[in-house]
Subunit: 357 residues, 2 copies
């Protein structure tokens, strides 16, 4: 896939690139599990997908119920406020999913959009989507979802869940470098388009390029190398199969969780709320966050993300994504952590191998 | 440079990537010829640099003089209007520079910002920047410039020209794949920052990551592979030297111009208004735009861009950028065009070689 990134650049209006674009759209539909015609990568990182959603599918004054149970819900609330939406925060403590009944309760009064983060990367929590589409339907409201970290790593079927628009990122479970934000929206959502405040993220203009009936109309120069790499990454996902890929991520998550538990790390997310692609664990007493993470990077070339928000300095966020969700990668990690904690890795490695067997 | 793109991804908070970021900032300063502290690539294509400028450095109600003499001036006028600016269009016909006296005349009344496109990619015209900073100074106004196509291919010295903020694109004369928008602004311009309507392009948040005094604060995941590739591309520019690079582009432009004149193509830009990196030429009578451009791509693997706006179907826009501004590349192009026009290439090739000798 990195090889694909380095192929000689294709012109962004070259018909050969047009074929790549069609393939990417089709592969994205399969990965999002949607029949939406509109499925393309925004030319920006994951948060550019969020911005595209907010700029085009939310109108000033819209009452938007915004789930906030971590950094990415906060981010969306911020973006919505900048758009002039009437933001109603539906919160849960960091490290927990928002109870479905709380969201359904908030949806009793009329509103325009309900937004939730499916995979909260800041806490490693998956937000259930059940019953949300029904809660929206009674007001003709739309259901929007951030699936940056969950897409292709955690079970998600956009059309079955009744999601109207969603965005993701290329660098998580799709296993592609960062730089593109897969995006999809159905016709109901697209009917809301009117006057994006941003020229760069203007969806009608972008769709004249990505979704042309005749000639593709130039909007901006698409990052062609990245799009070619994304096609390759998406093809690999389809080759494995989404269900098999989800199962692999589930197994990898559980295996690593039991291994790290042996080293004193406990998962933040309670049973049933875990996000397979991201294992967030509390540090055992006496383990210094910066020192040990620094050593993992410097001595072992392994990057572990630190805690965010209330978990800063107290938790690690470990990716279990794409090719990282494999036993040999995890074994290397477990050995390295044990080494830096000056402890024996045997029991933890046994737990890891049990998890994979 | 394509090899650099395909190096294993660095984490966006990895200290090793932090060093890359510092090098990129320093190399951008040298390439823009500016002492501005703020110099970084926006995580989007060139127009994302424009959007960053508009969202952060223009305020609703600002009177903005916007030079419009091609597609990219039109684009800026559109973006400014979406921002709620009071846009005053200073126009010239497509294919000509805007007379300096017209801009200076318009600057008599108070205004907040003057924006011009230094290299108009739609017409191959370079806009002189002389006297514009002085015209701005009398009102304490700012001078903003689009140098997407001109940076590192056409003489440009931001600080000498008194430019307060500018944006470019990675894929033109920097010879890097598309996906990043080099951006710079001085302190005077940054003082105007207040409440970006866009979360993604929010400059204060981005600068907490790119320009941290202490720890880099996470905003969005930087497209690390692209940034590594950009560093490589910028280092190549510095190795050649900006003055030598400009001179090479000037020579390449003139050589190709004389060669194509022998085949019946006349440059649109009059003498003295040409943009070295982009040669826009009128098609000779009897040459069918789509047929011949299609054959150049299909038979010779050479992509020539079509005319835009009033020049659609009537002109070609030929890149003379980066590694494309070399004699062997141009020779291949001249041979291919002659072949598709069923004419002899000898005289044109002689003109080309004379231009390079």
């Amino acid at each position: 896939m990195l090889d694909a990134l380095a192929l000689p650049p294709l012109g962004h209006l070259d018909p050969a690139f047009g074929e790549v674009m069609e393939e990417v759209a089709e592969l994205l539909r399969a990965t999002f599990r949607t029949a939406n015609r509109t499925a393309f990568p925004v030319s920006a990182t994951g948060s550019g997908g969020m911005q595209t959603m907010v700029d085009n599918l939310v109108r000033p004054g819209d009452r938007v119920l915004c789930g906030v149970h971590g950094l990415f819900g906060e981010r969306m609330a911020d973006a919505l406020a900048r758009r002039g939406a009437d933001v109603v925060r539906i919160e849960a403590e960091w490290g927990r999913a928002i109870p479905t009944e709380r969201l359904v309760e908030a949806a009793r009064e009329p509103f325009a959009v309900l937004f939730v983060v499916h995979g909260e990367t800041s806490t490693g929590v998956a937000q259930p989507l059940d019953a949300l589409a029904e809660a929206c339907a009674q007001h003709g409201a739309l259901l929007f979802v951030d699936c940056v970290t969950s897409l292709a790593g955690h079970p998600l079927d956009l059309d079955s869940a009744g999601v109207d628009a969603a965005f993701s990122g290329s660098q998580k479970c799709l296993n592609c470098p960062p730089g593109l934000a897969p995006f999809t929206a159905n016709d109901r959502a697209l009917e809301r388009m009117q006057g994006s405040p941003s020229w760069y993220f203007d969806l009608p203009l972008i769709l004249h390029y990505w979704q042309a009936d005749g000639a593709r109309a130039y909007h901006h120069t698409a990052p062609t190398n990245m799009v070619v790499a994304l096609r390759e990454a998406l093809a690999i996902v389809q080759e494995e199969g989404l269900d098999a890929r989800w199962a692999r991520h589930a197994k990898a998550h559980e295996a690593l969780r039991s291994a790290l538990r042996q080293l004193g790390f406990e998962r933040i997310a309670p049973e049933g709320e875990e996000l397979y692609p991201l294992l967030a664990v509390r540090l055992p007493d006496g383990v210094d966050d910066v020192t040990v993470r620094g050593a993992l990077l410097a001595e072992h070339g392994i990057e572990v993300a630190g805690g965010q928000g209330p978990f800063a300095g107290q938790a690690w966020r470990i990716g279990v994504m794409g090719e990282g969700a494999r036993a040999p990668v995890q074994e290397r990690l477990v050995r390295a952590i044990a080494r830096e904690l000056n402890t024996d890795a045997t029991v933890a490695l046994d737990a890891l191998h049990d998890g994979w067997s």
